[in-house]
């Protein structure tokens, strides 16, 4: 073990003290590595820019849809009913009716998660 370390140190010393230049092959390989690195870097930057652009566009769409949701401007064609329950018991929110008819407003611009708001249908 000790001998191997000594041998390695000797080889490194020789390498450091060496005045030898590099071959053309080594230079070309170096250029290839550097070129690949730069190409990869440029690709990553471009991908990032694309991701950011698409995120911004998505956000813009999402916020526009959210404005409509908050202002309750475009209800979905299908309304529904909201009930106040405890187990099987139903309590009336408004006198005389066990369910409240509501309109739904939806923002589905982010695909998987639908953001929904609702309000009472005018009686």
């Amino acid at each position: 073990m000790k001998a191997a370390v000594r041998k390695g140190l000797k080889a490194a010393k020789l390498k450091i003290l060496s005045n030898g230049g590099e071959t053309l092959t080594e230079v070309l390989v170096s250029l290839l590595i550097a070129g690949l690195a730069l190409a990869m870097f440029a690709g990553m930057i471009q991908a990032s820019i694309n991701i950011v652009d698409s995120s911004e566009a998505k956000m813009q769409e999402y916020y526009t849809a959210n404005n409509n949701l908050a202002l309750k401007t475009i209800p979905e064609a299908t309304g529904g009913t909201v009930s106040l329950t405890k187990g099987t018991d139903i309590y009336n929110l408004f006198p005389g009716s066990s369910g409240v008819d509501v309109d739904y407003f939806v923002n589905d611009k982010l695909g998987g998660v639908e953001v929904m708001s609702y309000e009472r249908e005018l009686p």
């Binding site: 250029l31 950011v52 009930s83 009472r120």
Partner: protein, 273 residues
């Protein structure tokens, strides 16, 4: 010594192209990865944003609906009680056919009858959330008979029987749209009395590891109690002592109607995660 080393380096003919190339590769890989992961992370936040908005809108929609249903609304508590006074007068029939009072009249009463059942209604509806809350606030845990008595008792004072944080009920606001129950919009509502106010805590229905958005609504009651009275007189003649005498029984029934109107108004809203 150091200058000597630098001079040696300048004069050195030893190449370092591969070392530099590897260094450039390393720098590009690290910086590129950082930029790429930052952009990806920023895009990944969008779904979290939508989930958070969904919580916010489901709970705030429910809160708007609750406020519309309860704010400025009234519950009427009403009950009757009869007081009966009976006056029995005996009349003597003289030989010439004239009639005169035979002794003083016997007056019994007023005797208070059993109070009728107290009713709570909101525009004619007894099953509303507001009726449930008003019943708890005014009559506490009394049953119907105890509530009837308390309503007419001199100690009757709306709001006096409840304690702070008295829980009324745990309810759910659930949806039905065609066959779809829209479970992601379901809101849990804890209803209780806090500082003699109706306190509703609305939160999105969530599993243990999901975030919860909460809106708390406080409704303050205002009470107005009035008692009205109506009278009814019935007369009955007892002829069993005729022809010498007869008895006249006059029954005066005084019906008292007591009405407490409870007016609810939104007094505070608290929002939080």
């Amino acid at each position: 010594m150091k200058l000597n080393t630098a001079a040696k380096k300048i004069k050195s003919e030893r190449g370092a192209s591969i070392t530099f190339a590897l260094l450039i590769f390393l720098v590009c890989a690290v910086v590129g990865s950082i930029v790429l992961s930052a952009a990806t992370a920023s895009a990944g936040r969008l779904n979290k944003l939508a989930e958070s908005d969904r919580r916010y809108y489901s709970v705030s929609s429910a809160a708007e609906l609750i406020v519309e249903a309860l704010d400025g609304k009234e519950v009427v508590i009403s009950g009757d009680r009869d007081d009966v006074t009976t006056t029995v007068t005996t009349y003597k029939v003289n030989a010439d056919g004239s009639v005169e009072v035979d002794g003083p009249s016997v007056v019994t009463g007023p005797v208070s009858g059993t109070p009728g059942n107290v009713s709570l209604t909101q525009t004619g509806d007894a099953d509303s959330l507001l009726c449930l809350a008003t019943k708890k606030l005014v009559f506490g845990n009394n049953n119907q008979a105890a509530s009837n008595d308390y309503f007419w008792d001199s100690t009757y004072s709306p709001g006096a029987l409840v304690t702070n944080n008295d829980v009324i009920s745990d309810l759910e606001l659930s949806h039905q749209r065609g066959a779809d129950t829209l479970s992601e919009l379901q809101v849990d509502i804890d209803v209780k009395i806090t500082e003699k106010r109706l306190h509703l805590i609305l939160k999105n229905h969530a599993s243990a590891d999901e975030a919860v958005y909460t809106i708390e609504l406080f409704f303050t009651p205002a009470y107005n109690t009035i008692i009205s009275k109506s009278s009814n007189t019935q007369t009955a003649i007892d002829n069993t002592l005729m022809p010498a005498k007869f008895k006249e029984t006059v029954t005066l029934t005084e019906t008292y109607t007591k009405t407490t109107t409870v007016y609810w108004s939104l007094s505070e809203i608290k929002k939080g995660q």
